[in-house]
Amino acid sequence: MQLTAKQRTRVDWFLTILRVAALVLIGAGLVAFVAQVVDSNNPFARWANPDAINLTGRQFRDLVVAGLAQGAMYGLIALGYSMVYGVLGFINFAHGEVFMIGAVTGAITSSKLAEAGAWEDNFVLCLLLVVVLSMVVCTITAVIMERVAYRPLRGKPRLIPLITSIGVSFFLQNFILVLLGPGTKTYPRMPEWLTEKRTFLEIQGTRLLVLAAAAVAMVGLWYLVERTKTGKAMRAVAEDAEIASLMGIDVNRVIVKTFAVGGAMAGVAGILWGLLFNSVLHTAGFLPGIKAFSAAVVGGIGNLGGSMAGGLTIGVAESLGPLVILEPLGVSGPSQLRDAVAFSVLIIVLLVRPSGIFGERLPSEERT
């Protein structure tokens, strides 16, 4: 962009070394992986990690699909972070907890439905009901959260609502803990026709369902933001809240709607978590929340399509990264490092391209 080269300080050199080292490590891992796949006796492969399991094509594909499914879930959560960041300019840490509340709502309602015998007989209808309920509960949670904790802080320095949201996050987590107890909340068994591997590329049905649901939610959101009056108001407030209010837009209403829509998306994501993992704990929201925020940053915060893409990136990276990059490099027990990989993606992206892969869309004064 700029013609003038910046004089480099020691910190800049250090950062450059870090960037290069990260990229070299990733590259070396990939090369080692490819070397193994091509010929497991090749000297480079043996030098890198002789014990590495050679992934079969099928395992590789399963990993990708699992990553995509989980990434779609992250993407849905990331939308909430991204929209709130776009409109209010702060990270709503507690958004992950909204997602967890969705998953818990789903667990409770679906097991009640299973007790009543409806889950097995009428799965599709029940699932729809559970999704809608979870969306409603999450929307209400998000709106109350905005009203109680964030609205009074409008206009304060951005770190203040951020710290508040950390408090809200731990409050909600433990709110669920003390009300519902420390036990795991489980989903009832999914019907067999869903869990078996479908003939279509032999992908597990649940994962297909998760991807499809995420796609539907995404399209709905896209329609809302790009094609309705509400969406236009949201975009206007995201661009410049003050001017939007001068144009007759009720900024408070728009912010509430933003939280509501983000909450609804988190509600859908909560059910997807239930479908993928079958059980949920009160702590289930925090890490996915942070990863989803990472996804929003990776995709470019404020950019809705970017959020979904970032989610998929993080999902695939944490699913593939350990086995494709870390294991060939000689890391033992790489699957334990999934979370570390997800965080590393965030750090590397921020080091290499601070405005995210797809570019951020922020109000004018946030841009630097």
């Binding site: 013609l3 003038t4 004089q7």
Partner: protein, 263 residues
């Protein structure tokens, strides 16, 4: 004429996303001058200060200070070279005391290490004393307005005019050679404004600073500036003494033409 000017700017361009905030600006300031930069709102005056103080990187062009290029230097390095500035929308360290405000801006002129502070060495004590004394000295430049019990008051309780004065004091405390003052009398009443104008003259005559100031108040510009540069749409449309510039038809158009549009 033999020695290079104190500040020399050649072919400076600044582009923000397609908008030319400054285009092809040439500019020079000789040591001991007071140069006023004027122009309608949005003409690029503050951008010009931002570029010189290193807060905005130019898209193209050269900036020399005392014959050495400033390009690519961080703002703190530029301050260390001897350029200090004030801000149009007063930006003091509001929650620090008046004295701390002028003490912190001596950062680049002091050398104490953390270890000195921890061990409370004599070097540390001596330097703290000096920093404090120098801080009181620059505050004393404005009479008793910023001294006495004001030393320990947070900057946020000061009156608007006093905040402007403290901004100048804070810039002076960095021991600069060149002072960039961004609308120093904005928001002051005529008496305060006249008094500050006189002080700015003293800054040059007695303290030996070279001064570039942005100002909308033409009486101030007339009273103290040796030369005036007029910016419009990021371009220098006129330069010369106040009398020359104020008679320039292009300048009149830039101001009045704009005003006519406004109606």
């Amino acid at each position: 004429m033999s020695s290079p000017p104190m500040l020399e700017i050649a072919g400076l361009h600044v582009v923000f996303g397609g908008l030319h905030a400054l285009s092809d600006l040439d500019f020079a300031v000789e040591e001991g001058e007071i140069v006023a930069v004027i122009g309608p709102n949005g003409a690029g005056k503050t951008t010009f200060f931002n570029v010189v103080s290193g807060m905005v990187k130019p898209t193209q062009g050269q900036i020399y200070f005392e014959g050495r290029s400033l390009l690519g230097l961080d703002p703190n390095k530029i301050t260390a070279r001897g350029i200090a500035r004030t801000f149009q929308n007063v930006r003091l360290f509001a929650n620090m005391t008046v004295l701390e405000n002028v003490m912190v801006s001596q950062h680049c002129r002091t050398r104490q290490r953390m270890l000195d502070a921890l061990l409370y060495t004599s070097r540390f004590r001596r330097e703290e004393e000096q920093v404090r004394a120098r801080g009181k000295e620059v505050l004393g430049f404005f009479g008793t307005r910023l001294t006495g019990y004001r030393f320990d008051q947070p900057a946020s309780v000061l009156s608007y005019a006093n905040r402007r004065r403290l901004e100048i004091a804070r810039a002076m405390a960095t021991s600069p050679k060149l002072l960039l003052l961004d609308e120093p009398v904005a928001g002051m009443n005529p008496v305060e404004s006249a008094e500050l104008t006189q002080l700015i003259g003293k800054l040059r005559d007695e303290m030996g600073y070279t001064i570039v100031l942005i100002e909308h108040d033409m009486s101030v510009v007339r009273d103290i500036s040796d030369r005036v540069v007029v910016l419009d749409h990021g371009e220098a449309i006129a330069r010369g003494t106040y009398a020359e510039v104020s008679a320039d038809p292009q300048v009149i158009e830039a101001y009045l033409g704009r005003a006519a549009d406004g109606n």
